[in-house]
Structures are given as structure tokens and as C-alpha cells.
Symmetry: C2
Subunit: 371 residues, 2 copies
């Protein structure tokens, strides 16, 4: 059997042959775009979401790529997400804007807000845009990275469904409320941070459930407030814990609250424990998000040179483990993109591919071609 | 012997009587103000720093209150800090400013920048001010809290001397680069976060050295990159680790870099490993800082009500430990201020009081009155 030929069907012999299957970024884009067209999205919206999902998987953020497709489809099926909607500006000044996402796909709202923040930062030195009425935005660094292309610093934070227990509490009341920040260096180099303010993201736990693996201690608590390792138990009944763990969880808790205070509370969307729970989907998301850009030209000259000087210094430091050089946030994603380019695409598991095959059949879309 | 009478001398009988001595906030203010006047500061500068130090200790941030006095005095003695200097604006737009701190005391630069950010946020919805040429700013939440008084959201981050090892590196190259954020609720309630992006601050380690206590595992590494518990060893030869510890240190590393990218790199001050080391003081600080304010009136109406609704929800959650109610960041400081008010002042250790007594004698200032 030729394992390297391009195929679309997971035959039993193929499954026994390998556990990973390679799909090109272009093919992921094509598949997601067609899925959303079938679901009723406009071509522009389908393109937006396809770009975001293909980008997430290509960077290695598998939990927020194709893995999130099911979530969006459920929302569309239940009529709580509007694939034809576009965001509007509710209030605006030279440096700020308050946006209503109008229940559009998160990535559509995000692109709208980030482009607005970019425009404002170019003219005013800073652009600070917050949106209510939004939905899940996928991989968050997708937005600050748009600022990089314009020579700006980008910042995004947002609220999400309550799955994180506040420091010292037994039950969840905050989302994983991620924070992402990007700053440009020279020669297209950049620092790109993208972190959840919990120890790990909900998507990570989901992957452990899918692959039936036990969780590392400290990632989640049970209903009594104690740490659990059963991924399914944590996913269904427990709560994530804030970044910082046992000794410093108050810091992750504070950062999660800051992300909420800058996004949902500022935008007037749902917030904290009042956001819809996971698994209870027949309700609009109405999430809150914050998109900001800073123009380094309004401050000290030579921003990119200083940033590159610092990044180069860090990468050249003596590592604790000689096998693992010191990285700058963003390097991991760059390395993944390089690896995927070298081998012709992203690796998907058999489980993942089976799911997309089933979806393709259901919607009447050509299945993913893989190698 | 009457342990409750006000005194100024640590007699042997007193030392055997108690290990803690109470000094009123007003007396701390008086003492620090007089010390700085003796050191050559203008009355305005002396008032600024006295207010910041008294506030830090009153809130319970002892590592950044009176404990920092020695650092400032060393800088003044060595002529690397200018007590008569005032900051200037180098470039400005309606929403942004680039400031040169002109080597003034950090708190002087911070007050200047924060008041400028407040003015800009009132007019433009946001104010984003960065300073180069600054010095150590003391307790960071002192600045975002100024925004609260004007009904605004406040944000401050900055770089500091390199004491934190980047994720995966053996040596320090970044500061503890703190981030502080404040958001107003109703009836003067507020959420005030103030965290170092390392597991703990350098000041915390310093207090363990002063009291000759072993460090909890995970707060610092030795020169081989492994965790150490000897506080003196860690303080003199080791490095702090980024927030997140063994599993998630890449997140604290990212946050520390973000704070640097928003402050020192943006302001054109010294940055990362190029900032002067601790213990090598004959060099100007030239630190970089970022002070920002957001005006909620430019976004959704009802900010304070939503923030209070969330804070009240969190405080009323079922706690893991029935003895420890769930708190909102800022509650701990509020509780400390209440405790200090109830007992008539801040508690200082014998070691701390002996040090201030010696300083008082050296400068010809009236020593601290304590009970």
C-alpha cells in the first residue's frame, strides 16, 4: 500500500498504517471555507473563518483550529450565531471605539475591531476597541499579529465561558480569559505571546479527553476544590485553575479578572459567571472582547531594533537543557509552521479526520485530502 | 514596663517584650518626608515619596515600603538619582505621550505620567504614557489607583533590574516586570491587581533573607538552573523564576516580556539584561515605565455597576477553605489598611526599626515614634 499518495477515505488498512495524516494548509482552508458556505455564511465570512482555523492548526494551536469547528457548527445549527451578520460601531473617538458584534462569528468581529484599532493607532498613536455581542474568536494571536503587518504593537484580551475557579473558590466563575500581545522586531521577526490566564485552556483538556489521557496534577479541580487527573471528570464536572497554581494562583486570577474588566465589563456584554456555560448552547454568546494597537512611531525611535536586540539576546542564552534552546514567545509557532511546510501540511489524528469525514458527508462537501 | 506608651528607642527590655512595634501611617509619612528633605529633595519630592512608602506599608506591601528606603538612599549617596529633577514631555498626541523622567525618583516620574494619562483619558477616552529615564517606582498599584479617584481604569507596567531567568535559561535577563491594573466599582469599591510577572518579587526574597527563613521550593533557581531554598544563596547568586512555575513558566516569561515591550522598549530606556544589576549601583537606573488610563464613559454605560456586580458575586462564592472567603484582588490591601487603622498603625519588626533608628541618627532626623 502506498502511504504517501493523497487520499480522502480512512480505510482500515490506512488506519493500521499510521496514526497521523497530513493535510496541507490550503486544503484545510478549502474545506473550512466550503463547510461554512454550506452552513449559510457569506463568501467573506467563510474566508475569514477558514483563514483563522487553517492558521491555528498550522501554528500548532490544534485545540483552537479544526478542533473548534464542531462548536461553531452547533451554534449555527441552534440558531444562536448569525453567519450573515456584520459588526457596527456604537460610539467612537479618534483613539477608541465601542462595537456591537451583532452576533457575528468571533473572527469576523475580531477582524473588524482589529482593523479599526490599526487605523486609529496609525492616526492617533493608539487604538482601543471593545466589542460586545461577539462569539468565540479562535486562536487569539491571529488578531495582534495583524498589527505586526502594519509595524504596530497589537493586544487582544477577551472573556469566555466560565470554566475557571477563582482563587480559593470551589466552582468556576471566570473564563480562561486569554491575553495575547505582539511586538515587531526587524526582518519580520516578532515577539508574539498568547496565553490563557488559567493554567491551561479548556481546549487542552478537551484534547486529553479525546485521546483518553490523564491530566497532569494542578490543571483542574473537582467539585470539592481538590486537584483531579481524570480528564473527562474535569471536563464535565470540574473547573480549571488560574495560572500560578497552588502558590501563585491569585496572580492568574487577577489577570483573568483584568481581561474581563478590559473586555466584557467595558463593552457591556455578558461577563464572568453570567456567560453561557459549556454544553448549554441554546443561548447567544454575547461575549466581550478588547482589541488594541499601539504605534511605536509616537514614542522613542528604533522600537524594532531594540525588540530584536532583546529577542536575539534571549535566544542566545545558555539553556538549562542543552537540547532545548531558549525561545522567544512566537518561536514555537514559527517552528511549527516551518515543520508543516517541510512535510507538506498539518498532521491530524485518525479521530480528527474521521470526524471531518463524517461532517463532509453530512454537508455534502468534498472530504479533506490527506497524505 | 508599659508596652503601650509611645517610644523612640529600642531598649533591651522592649526587645524582649515584643517582636513587633506599631508606627502610625502619619508618623511613617513624617519620617520619610524628613529623611528626603535631609537628603536634599524638594518639599514636593519628599511628600511624593513619603506618601508612596507610607501607603505601601499601610496596604501590607512591606517589601516595597520602608524596606525600599535603603535602595533610594544608596542611589542618592552615589549620585545616580536626582532628587531635584522633574520629568519632561518629549512627544505628545491627544491620547499618547513620551516622557523623559530626567532621572527623578520613580514615584515622581510615575505621578507625572499617571496624571498626564488621566488628563488624556478624560479628553480622548484613553491615555497611554511611557517614560524613559526613570527609577524604581515603589509599590506599583499606587499609580493605577490614582485613576480610580477619577472614575477611570488604570494600568501600569514597567521593567526592573534583571533578576528573573527567562523560561528555560540558567541566568537572569528580565526584571520582575510588574503589571498593575485597577477598575472602579460602585461606592468606592474597586478591583486592584498588582503582580510581578515572576513567581515572587525580589523584595519577598529579601524579607526571607532578613528573617533568615528558607524559601518555598520553586521561587528561585541556582546557577545550574535548579530550584534552591537558601534565601541568601538565591538572593546573591541565583535567579527568580517566571510566574507559572515548572509547568507554565512560559506564560510568566511572556507576560514579563510584554511588560518590557510596553515600557522600556517603547520608551527607549535601558531594557532586559542591559539594566543595571542589583548590588552594582554606580550607574543610572534609566528604567522604562508605562502608565495608561481608560475612560469607561467612551464605552458601554454602567461600567461601575457591572464591575461591582461581578466583585460581589465572587466574594459570595463557596470557598474551598471555610476560614478563607473568596477575595477580589485589592481586598487583601483593604483589609490590611483596616487592621492598621484599628490598631493605630503598621507593625514593624525589631530589625526594621533598628535600621530606621540608625538612619535617623545618621541624618539627624527625629527617630520613628512607635508603640
Amino acid at each position: 500500500m502506498d502511504c504517501e499518495a493523497e487520499k480522502t477515505v480512512l480505510t482500515p488498512d490506512l488506519v493500521s498504517c499510521r496514526q497521523k495524516f497530513i493535510v496541507s494548509e490550503k486544503e484545510v482552508f478549502r474545506f473550512v471555507e466550503e463547510v461554512f458556505i454550506k452552513l449559510g455564511a457569506t463568501p467573506e465570512v467563510a474566508k475569514c473563518v477558514a483563514e483563522s482555523i487553517a492558521d491555528a492548526d498550522n501554528k500548532g494551536h490544534y485545540s483552537h483550529g479544526m478542533n473548534r469547528l464542531g462548536l461553531y457548527i452547533t451554534d449555527v445549527d441552534q440558531g444562536v450565531l448569525d453567519l450573515k451578520s456584520t459588526p457596527i460601531i456604537l460610539a467612537e473617538s479618534a483613539a477608541t471605539a465601542w462595537v456591537d458584534g451583532n452576533n457575528a462569528l468571533g473572527v469576523v468581529v475580531g477582524n473588524f475591531c482589529m482593523q479599526l484599532a490599526i487605523k486609529k493607532a496609525k492616526e492617533s498613536g493608539i487604538g482601543w476597541v471593545v466589542a460586545k455581542g461577539s462569539n468565540h474568536i479562535g486562536v487569539v494571536n491571529f488578531f495582534p499579529e495583524q498589527a505586526l503587518k502594519e509595524g504596530l504593537l497589537g493586544f487582544t484580551c477577551c472573556n469566555t465561558s466560565p470554566v475557571v475557579a477563582p482563587w480559593g473558590a470551589k466552582e468556576p466563575a471566570l473564563g480562561t480569559n486569554p491575553i495575547s500581545f505582539a511586538a515587531p522586531g526587524v526582518n519580520d521577526d516578532s515577539f508574539v505571546m498568547d496565553i490563557s490566564t488559567s493554567g491551561v485552556s479548556r481546549g487542552k483538556i478537551e484534547l486529553y479527553v479525546k485521546h483518553n489521557q490523564p491530566l497532569p496534577v494542578g490543571w483542574a479541580i473537582g467539585s470539592d476544590g481538590k486537584y483531579v487527573t481524570d480528564a473527562k471528570d474535569a471536563y464535565e464536572k470540574g473547573a480549571l485553575t488560574p495560572l500560578g497554581g497552588e502558590n501563585n494562583g491569585h496572580k492568574g486570577y487577577g489577570l483573568g479578572l483584568m481581561a474581563e474588566a478590559m473586555s466584557g465589563i467595558l463593552a457591556g456584554s455578558k461577563f464572568g459567571p453570567f456567560i453561557r456555560k459549556w454544553g448549554k448552547k441554546i443561548e447567544r454568546g454575547d461575549l466581550g472582547q478588547c482589541y488594541a494597537c499601539i504605534n511605536p512611531e509616537f514614542f522613542a525611535p528604533g522600537y524594532n531594533e531594540r525588540m530584536s536586540c532583546l529577542m536575539d539576546y534571549l535566544r542566545n542564552m545558555d539553556p538549562v537543557d542543552p537540547e532545548n534552546p531558549v525561545q522567544v514567545p512566537g518561536d514555537w509557532e514559527r517552528n511549527n509552521k516551518k515543520k508543516h511546510q517541510d512535510k507538506g501540511g498539518v498532521s491530524y489524528s485518525r479521530v480528527q479526520l474521521q470526524w471531518t469525514n463524517d461532517l463532509a458527508k453530512k454537508l455534502g462537501v468534498a472530504p479533506l485530502k490527506f497524505k
